[in-house]
Amino acid sequence: MTWTRKDLLDIQSLSLEEITTVLDTASAFKAVGQRVIKKVPALRGKSVVNLFVEPSTRTRISFEVAAQRLSADVINFTTEASSLKKGETLKDTALNLQALNADFIIIRHSAAGAPHFLSRVLNAHVINAGDGAHEHPTQALLDAFTIREKKGRISGLNVTILGDILYSRVARSNIWAMRKLGANVTLCGPPTLVPRAFEQMGCRVTSDINAAIGDADVINLLRIQHERQRKTMFPSLTEYTSLFGLTKARLADLRPDALIMHPGPINRGVEIDSEVADGSRSVILEQVANGLAVRMAALFLVNGGRGPQEVDADRTAALAA
């Protein structure tokens, strides 16, 4: 098991072995969180910049705590108080951060591909914390980690992703991860938000919630992304809840051992009832706790990985020797 990548940009380009390496490494880091002293010196002297050009609390704080537990220094960057507001380009902002000795840049951006772009122009390690509706790799990895921990395996499980798929980066990253790990993936939601095109990613697509949840081992709920919808995709939230919400009444249709997951923030009474979110089958808060371990693993692994520039420099040095 080896990890050679300098960055963590998406799930799509990862191999099954690389995904498994992250999950195994995260297990070891989860144990660190259960010690009296929850800090290890692995990234001592390194700087991690949280470059969040889009709002976030959970993911940003999770990366911040993860970096601190690895003994790195953390700088939080918010758009409101930055020169991005004055018209500076993302590239210039990032190059300036690198000039200030940032070793890691955790980026969240509304434009798909922004982390990939930065990874090409920076020597610093880049971790994608969500780019538009494209990918959110650490969320998919923490979901996979939680499922593996609870179920002992992922291969062969029926995983249903319910809600706004079209605008969801969590959905895309999860579909890639679950397919690579061998799960059967069902997508369910209003046809406007779950187009048939997703069948090309190897998923079953349905608008019938009863068909989607009855045999599911895992139900991953997604929030309606008001901020990404340019027009109304369904008549009303009330109708959405009655057709696609995981309500208290629908609990009876689930398998008794089904896991209920949600990447947060949850909209109680819309996609999920409070009784379900706080019920015994819900692992929503465990997902948050596992996110810490997965992000520690991601930082730790990419720290050892090297970019093409450094590999080239090594090759030149080897030829000269």
Partner: protein, 178 residues
Amino acid sequence: MDGPSIHRAISRIARQIAKGQHHPGDLVLVGIQTGGVRLANHLAGRIRDLLGHEIPVGELDVTMHRDDLDQRLAPPVHATKIPVDITGKTVLLVDDVLFSGRTTRAALDALNDFGRPRRTQLAVLIDRGHRELPIMADFVGKSVTTAQDDRVEVEASESDGWARVTLHTAQHSSGSNP
């Protein structure tokens, strides 16, 4: 070094350890991942036979405390399990091969996060020299003269057995039994 001589060396170390304990009830063995864990379990069995009570055994992964993380790909991280509070105890760190001393240094740091032992000691199966830090073992199975770029391989077989210790010399990779 063949299987029976490894077993003899472990028995001898066990006797020395048992004899050296003023408070045998306070002894905790901690094997360094991955090579030291098997040896720690084996040693604990022998010491138990000598002292007449169970010896707690832990596993310690030092990866996160290494000093070369920037110069290599991220190494695999293994489990750390320390079953008892080590504060005030005698902790015996166990590793298969002692070389530069850097792993031991990392282990001492890692141990710090779990408590403050009254005393920490080190037992190794093979001491191959070439220390880069001021560290020495309290208990040594066998000291071997090696060149800096030789490789010492400790092989365990299934069941309880220790197969052999092989010194692979850098010049010709065929290997020889020291």
